[in-house]
Every structure is written in C-alpha cells, then in structure tokens.
C-alpha cells in the first residue's frame, strides 16, 4: 500500500508543465470571491474562457477518453491537475458544471455512439456548461416519484413540469434532465433522460432564495433556481439511454452524485482554519485554552477521515475496483462531518465564526459561509437518511440479495 503522492520524474515534469500553463492561461481578472454567490458575470466568463482553454489541452475532463475530448490521463496526472487548480484557488472544471460532470460519464455508459459524438466533446472541450435537473417539489428523496412529463409528438417530445434546486448563477447552455415518458407506466419503468438545450421556447428560470446555494463541493454555483417547462418541444434524438429506461440510467448518474467517484483536493477551508488558529487575531490566540486545542484536534480527525474516504473512492473508481456502499458512505460522512466541523469551528472561534464582516470575519468570511453551507449540504444528492438506506442495501442488511452498485466506466 502506498499513500504517498510523490511525483515521479515524469509526473513532476507534468506538474511543472501544468503550473506554467496555468500561469499563462488563467485569464486576467479571474477573481476568487469567497462566496460563489458573489461571482459576477464577467468573472464567470473568465472562468468559461479558462474552461475552453483547458478543454483544448484535454485537461478539462482529463479522465474522459481522448476520442471524446478528454485526456485519458492516468489517475496520478488527474490528481496533479486537481491539485494545481486548487493551488490557484480554482476547481476542475473551474465553474459549476454538475450536468457535465455527471452526464458525461453517464452518456459514456448509456448513450448511443451518436449521443457520445454529439454531447461528449462539447462537454469535455468546455464549449457548454450543463445543469442537472432531477428534484421536483414533490420528489426529493423519492426521485422515482417525479411528475414532469415528456410526451412524444411526431419528431419531438413535449415537456411540461417543474424542477427545483437547479444549477447556478449565469445560466447554462443545456440541462441533463430526468422526466416521465410514460405517465401510465409502472414505477421505475416510466422514466427517460434528455439533454435539453436551454434556449428552447417555454423554459423559465426563477432564482430561489436559499440559506446558501452551495453544498455540492468543488466549484460553487452561486444561486439555485426553479425551472418551469411549458410545452417545451425537444427533438426525440435528445433522449439518451432508451425510452422508459431512465431508472437504470439514473443508477450511474446517482452513483456519481452519491460520491462513488470520490473527490480530490478538498478541505481548503479546514486547512486555512487550522493555520488561522495558530496566529494571533484581535490581540489574542484562540489556542491558548486547552479545550480549544482539543476541539481543533477532533476537527482535524473528522476532516482527515472524510478526506481518506474520498481518496479511497477515487482510487477505487479509477482502477475499476469492485465497489459497494463506499459512495454513500463518503457522502454521508461528508454531510455529517461538515456539520460537526462547523460546530467545532463555532466552539473554537466563538461568534467570530458567524460574521463575514470585513474587519472581524475570519478568512474573509469563509468560516461564516462554511457554517451555512454545512446545513445546506445536508440535502443535495440525497439526504443522510437515503445514504444510510443505500449503504444498508448494498451491505445486505436485512435482505437476501445485496443491491448492485451503479455502473461507472
């Protein structure tokens, strides 16, 4: 076993190449607001430009096949890309692209050759930003209970309904969406996935007023929206993975969303907070009390276990290692430890942790945001309860057959 992420000669050459490249290619004016909600349109466009440049290098989706615009890079180099983006204060992709991040691998598993040729290079080259549309007012934990319909009419499907908790600020070119294609059909046999261009007539986007819009980690999204579909005509060839086969397609999407693919380069705020505690602020040191030091050690342990689960899942997914409950375990742990860490920060930093005031807010307000995001993060990509259900099924608690894990490539 080897946890060391020590660069070989080839890797350190690659790291140097990435560093130099990023220095030259991060567009001037790419600023880094603490709260993604403050990302201006201009800043967003800088990030999209960086995305296209990364795409041209095949580094935007570095583990996707080269045939479809990815880099087909080995895991070690993907890690380097994530790390170097993190060092620059960015994530990979450098903007919220949940639709692309989860649609691309799903299309790779379930799409036709035509779908792969049409959709994957657009995503991998950064020419489009994609949202994911799953949750509805009446269907959160119970995704199979969605009501939005897509009814075949000639060469099109006609879409009607409502999706919530969607996307980000500043729009998207397309949306990866699950809908009901057979309203009379049996549960789990009535769903289909569409890639929907967002400029079609009949689509209305209304921002939601939330505690925070974050909670999905990585690139912050800014706001979440409600999307209304009113007789929206989508060409039939945009249906991916077979009509009424959407629940099977969803297993891949959800495995991604539930953390099955793992995650690299997290813990930014935690590390910054630990550093912050070691300096004097407003005339005193937070760690002068033994209790504060103890709490900080506990906080560190919490974040380390979560980090290791994330790395383990990444390693498993990228080496085609058989998986079972690990995705949901990581997701569950990430949600609960996030809340626990936020409360430990509140213990250690006192009410300072609650303000993003210019003068008093630690880490430019990042702690205040962390405290809100820890709460908002409890529900996206399935609640803690659902993650426990999935873990139990996959371990085989209380049932004869163990549930199978969703296919990743």
């Amino acid at each position: 076993m080897d946890f060391a992420i020590e660069d070989s000669a080839e890797q350190s050459t690659f790291r140097e190449e990435v560093r130099v490249w990023l220095k030259e290619n991060i567009p001037e004016g790419t600023e880094f607001p603490v709260d993604p909600g403050d990302l201006t349109l201009e800043q967003y466009e800088h990030r999209r430009e960086l995305g296209r440049r990364l795409g041209d290098q095949s580094w935007l989706y570095p583990n996707m096949p080269t045939k479809y615009g990815g880099g087909d890079l080995p895991v070690e180099k993907v890690v380097i890309l994530h790390e170097e983006m993190g060092r620059a204060g960015l994530s990979l992709p450098p903007y919220y692209d949940a639709g692309g991040r989860m649609a691309a691998p799903t299309i790779l598993v379930w799409g036709s050759e035509e779908h792969k040729d049409r959709f994957l290079p657009e995503i991998c080259k950064g020419r489009v930003r994609s949202w994911q549309l799953l949750t509805e007012p009446g269907a959160g934990s119970d995704l199979a209970g969605i009501k939005m319909t897509a009814i075949r009419d000639g060469k099109d499907y006609v879409l009607n309904g409502q999706k919530i908790f969607v996307g980000s600020s500043h729009g998207a070119e397309q949306s990866w969406t699950v809908v009901v294609t057979d309203p009379e059909g049996k549960r789990h046999h009535n769903l289909s996935w569409f890639m929907i261009p967002m400029d079609l007539p009949g689509i209305t986007v209304v921002p939601m007023n939330l505690l925070t819009a974050g909670g999905e980690g990585g690139s912050g999204c800014g706001v979440k929206n409600t999307i209304f579909f009113d007789d929206v005509r989508v060409p039939a060839e945009n249906l991916v993975g077979g009509e009424n086969n959407g629940w099977k397609v969803a297993t891949t999407h959800l495995e991604m969303e539930h953390g099955g693919a793992g995650r690299l380069g997290e813990r930014g705020v935690i590390k910054e907070f630990i550093d912050y505690c070691q300096d004097e602020h407003h005339g005193h040191n937070l760690l002068e009390s033994a209790e504060a030091r103890e709490t900080l050690v506990d906080l560190y342990i919490e974040s380390e276990v979560t980090r290791l689960f994330a790395i383990r899942n990444y390693w498993m997914a990228h080496n085609n290692h058989p998986r079972s409950y690990e995705g949901s375990q990581y997701s569950l742990r990430r949600k609960l430890s996030g809340l626990d860490i936020a409360e430990k920060i509140l213990e250690i930093a006192g009410p300072y942790a609650l303000t993003n005031d210019e003068q008093y807010g630690p880490l430019k307000g990042a702690l205040e945001l962390y405290g809100r995001e820890a709460i908002t993060a409890l529900h996206p990509g399935a609640t803690t309860d659902i993650q426990r259900v999935i873990m139990s099924r996959r371990i085989g608690i209380g049932r004869q057959d163990r549930e199978k894990v969703g296919a990743l490539r």
Binding site: L210, Y360, H379, T384
Partner: protein
Amino acid sequence: MDLSLTETQQLIQDSTRDFVRNDFAKEILLDLDEMPALMTSELWTKVSQLGWMGMAIPEEYGGTGNTLTDVAVLYEELGRGPVPGPLFSSGVLGALILLKTANSSQKEAWLPGIADGSRILAVAATEKHYGWSPAHIAMTARRNGEDYVLDGTKLFVHDAASATDLLVLAKSESGISLLRVDANADGIAIRVLPGFLSGVTEVTFENVRVPSSDLVGIEGAAWAGYDAALQSAIPVLCAYKVGACQALFELCVDYSKERTQFGQPIGKFQRVQDHIIHIVNYLDAARWTTNEALWKLDTGQDAASSVHMAKALSSDGYLRSCDFAHEVHAGIGVMREYGLTLHTKMSRSLYHCLGAPKFHRKRMEGALGLVQA
C-alpha cells in the same frame, strides 16, 4: 410537588401565544429579519402596552413585579417565533442588572422608562477578546474631572442597534465599573455585523464623556451584582430557547405528516422519527433544567449549578434541534420563506450569548464543589 403552571402563568402563556401567532406571524418575522433594529416602532409600542417590558421590574419602579418563572413563560412563547429584537436585552437582562447594581435614585430615574418601553437597554460587556469573565473586560473608564471617559470597542453586543441606552462594563481605577450611556452620545458608533447572526453589533467608543451620575452603583464594584443579575436572567433566555425547540418540534411533527415520499408520509420512516425524537429529547432536557433553575431562583435557593446546566443544555439543544429539523425538512428547510432558517440563525446568534455551553460546564465544576470555586 406541582409542576403545572399557575393561573397567572397560564393566562400569560395563552395571551402571548395568540399575540405571537398573529402579530409576529412568519411573514412579519421574515420582514423584521431584514431590518437592522429587528423591530418596528408599531410593534414595540404594542408589546410595551401589553406590559411585557415591565414584567421583571418591581411595582415601585413602574413594573408588575412578576416572578422569574412568570417572565420565563412569556419568553418561552417569544422563542416560538422566534421573536427578535431587544425585549430580553432591555426588559430582563438590562432591568435585572440595574436592580442588582444601581442606587435607588438611578432605579427611580431609569426603570420606569424600561417598564413602559420608552427606554431600551443593551448590555455592552464583551470585547475583541471574547468571553464572559471579568478577565475579558479590558475597556477603560478613565476619570476626568466630574466625568468618566470611555475609549475602546465592545464587540458582539446584542441589540445595540435598537437601544436608547447602553450599559457598559469597563475597568476604572478600583475595579470593574458599570456605566449607563446614551446610545446616541457623541463618540459612539454602532454597527450591525453582517453574516449568519441576528442583532449582533460592534460598538465603538471614542472619547465618550459620561457624567459620574451615570456611573451605576459603586465604582469598581459592579461585577458581583452584574454576575448575580446574569444568573437570574440566564434561565429566562433558556426559556426562550425552550420555546424555540418546542416550535421546531411541532414544525417537524407537522411536516412529517404532510410530506409524502415513496407513497407515504415521511413520518413513517424510522430514520425521520429518530431525528424528531432527538429534538424532543433536547427540548425536554432544556425545559426541565430551566424550570427547576427558575423555581430555585424564585424561592431563594442556591441555583448556581442549575442555572449553568440549563444554559449549557438549552444552547446546545437549540443549535442541534435546528440541525435535526434540517434533516427532517431537507430542501424546503433551506428556502428562506419557509421560516426554519430564522431559527437556525437565531440558534447560532444566541449560542455564545451570556456564555457558551463549555463555559457554563466549566463553572459547574465550581458550583458542584469539584474544584475550589
């Protein structure tokens, strides 16, 4: 033994509950949340006319001289809102501090105004080196002729933005002193702190002159009375948190019946039940420790360990009840118009106010005789 409410208390509970339901309905609370003072003058006039501000003040000073338990019954109902604003800071904390520390002419001058709502107090104790011990008071009150001069910063002061008067703790020559200062006096700047908190401010003092007649009580000897007043006020704040936990509990039970997923109410799922059971356990632990502390105070018994225990449990309980309520509600809970986040924010804002749970657990070591107090 009789753990029921008295007739008076029942009356207070019923009338306050009705008033909060109508006059502090969710839509109004969401509007108030956007205002720096967290209160409108119309609402303040109404609650003052109801006599809420004078309940903890004796009749001789214009109040109604209710027991702490009576007052706590009112605050439990306010916590259900959660009703924001300076009610507790002025009518309970500020009033009790003056009762314990001020001389009789000061009481006669100031307390009737608090009781009728025309005078609103905020207590400026904490500073940049945050904490609730005498060691955390660094600001100085320098004697200059007939006046004292205040310089420095008070931080995380609750409700200063709506106050007419500040009660300021500061170090003078002979120890810790308390001064009453007009909130709009020259040299004072009050700034509401932005973020995941409610009604918390920075108050800066620049060469603020305070006449010696506004030195409360005896110079250098304020701490003992101030601390004794805190011990009486704390269980009332605990009752506010108990009411808040009660509201969260009811909200979750209702939602677990209304919301269906997988073809049944989510309350059928044991995992959802577990979250709500956590809330009711936190609620009842906070409620009964608070009630006993109030009883001990009202009957003149040593209440120290009960007060610390109630504060530790109610601060923890409110914070964690919000967390569990978010687990029950998931998405809808973080939509601001739903109202749950008003509690989430308040549970954080009040977590450290008058001492965080760890501080009170530490003081219990002394109160229980485990260490030399």
